[in-house]
Assembly symmetry: C2
Homo-oligomer: 260 residues x 2
């Protein structure tokens, strides 16, 4: 029986009580199961890329029918926290997949050609969080943040200049060396090395004139219109974990979006 073999780590209560502990809250069963699954994801019971237990096992663990577990997982798959693979199982979503990158990197070349993107990191330092960032990241005045500046290339062409502010506590070991060595998407690094999984972001886009510094890096004339993207990223429980400001050159490139 899988029941006895799968106690939730950190849960001292027998299985039956894992459910009893939340069933006092009035809400549909499958939503309670959803919360339990998110909590398990959050505490790292299953790591990004790994499979979660089968629907049958989870049904046994939570003492509900398989159909109820299925509905909970359906929701989480729709929210991109989990990925179903027929015949194989259900997996924790990860940023180390082309699929996730496509969702969060919205700048693309006009001709639609796939181009290799590479990062050049220009700066990485710990600073006292600016007042605005304190508010956006739910920090306390005086808290530290890690500030990163990077230039994103499509092929040989510099296209996006990113400035990032990350909570100092969660990103303690993030250094310029670490960034320079790393290959792959930044969110993949955050997820693997810092246990911080970004799942959602809110953006505000504007057109702005290039200031001299940015213009030089992006290889455009000062004053050139650039696409400015202000992003706040969130992890489980809608906790903000990153503030990012991007400046993108949009001659030959564009920001793609689907309204549905």
């Amino acid at each position: 029986m899988t029941l006895a073999t799968m106690p939730a780590p950190g849960e001292r209560l027998p299985i039956g009580d894992e459910r009893a502990a939340v069933s006092a809250v009035f809400s549909p069963l499958y939503q309670q199961i959803k919360s339990l699954l998110v909590a398990a994801l959050e505490r790292g019971e299953w790591k990004p890329g790994e499979p979660i237990p089968s629907e049958q096992d989870l049904a046994a663990r939570f003492q509900v029918s398989q159909g109820t577990v299925r509905k909970a997982i359906d929701d989480l798959a729709a929210e991109n926290l989990l990925v179903r693979r027929q015949g194989k199982g259900t997996f924790v979503a990860t940023h180390h997949e082309p699929r996730a990158q496509h969702r969060f990197l919205r700048i693309a070349p006009d001709d639609g050609e796939e181009r290799a993107t590479t990062s050049r990191f220009l700066e990485c330092k710990r600073i006292k969080a600016p007042a605005e960032t304190v508010a956006q990241l739910d920090l306390r005045a005086g808290d530290a943040v890690v500030y990163v500046r990077r230039l994103l290339f499509f092929g040989e062409r510099p296209v996006v200049l990113d400035d990032l502010w990350l909570p100092g506590a969660a990103f303690k070991g993030l250094t310029a060396e670490r960034l320079a060595e790393y290959r792959g998407p930044l969110y993949g690094l955050f997820e693997t090395e810092f246990g911080t999984r970004m799942i959602r972001a809110e953006e505000r886009l504007r057109a702005v004139a290039a200031v001299p510094g940015a213009a030089a890096l992006l290889n455009v004339a000062p004053g050139t219109p650039l696409l400015q993207i202000e992003r706040v990223s969130y992890t489980y429980g809608d906790r903000p974990v990153e503030v990012r400001r991007a400046l993108g050159a949009t001659d030959g490139f564009h920001y793609r979006n689907t309204l549905a």
Copy 2:
């Protein structure tokens, strides 16, 4: 029995054959039901804002279980073609709801205050479709399109200059007078008066410098960076029904987007 009372208009076959007609195609039952529902929506069997038959009635009509109909409707609700309302029924989505407007008007004031938006129509004429538009709207060379130019105000402030190209055939009676009289979202007009329901759009965003004409209308200096939004809208079956190019002033306003 509702079976006999609900023949699909335009379907001469008895009910059983409505399903048999498609069941030759191999695909899950609920997807076939989905297609049948979309086809019914497309031919206007139920109009925007109206309720569709209950799940029980549809199950009887298509000779499947209620659970299968439910799954088909779940999908269509997720795609925003239908709207479920507990206790009341399931309704055909319409652009005459604040909800739909929020989905397709992504420019918003920075302070988050709700502001009344009004349109001023500057132009409306039939022209021969430009070559690019021919391709985007799947027309034939020489086909006519209706060209519309309008200025969108937030309160007293002109914020977005829109240029629209619509297929001439479907929008035959669209005139400047018609537009001037109308109150409400453009897509609402298209849906109600021209039987063309927009359900999805693809956009490409860029930063561009304001040309003198646009600058004057938007009350900014020539050369000011503007947000340019190129949109192609689609109706049922992914048929393109509108090309739109917007130029937005982004001082005090922004384009909001959620990545999830």
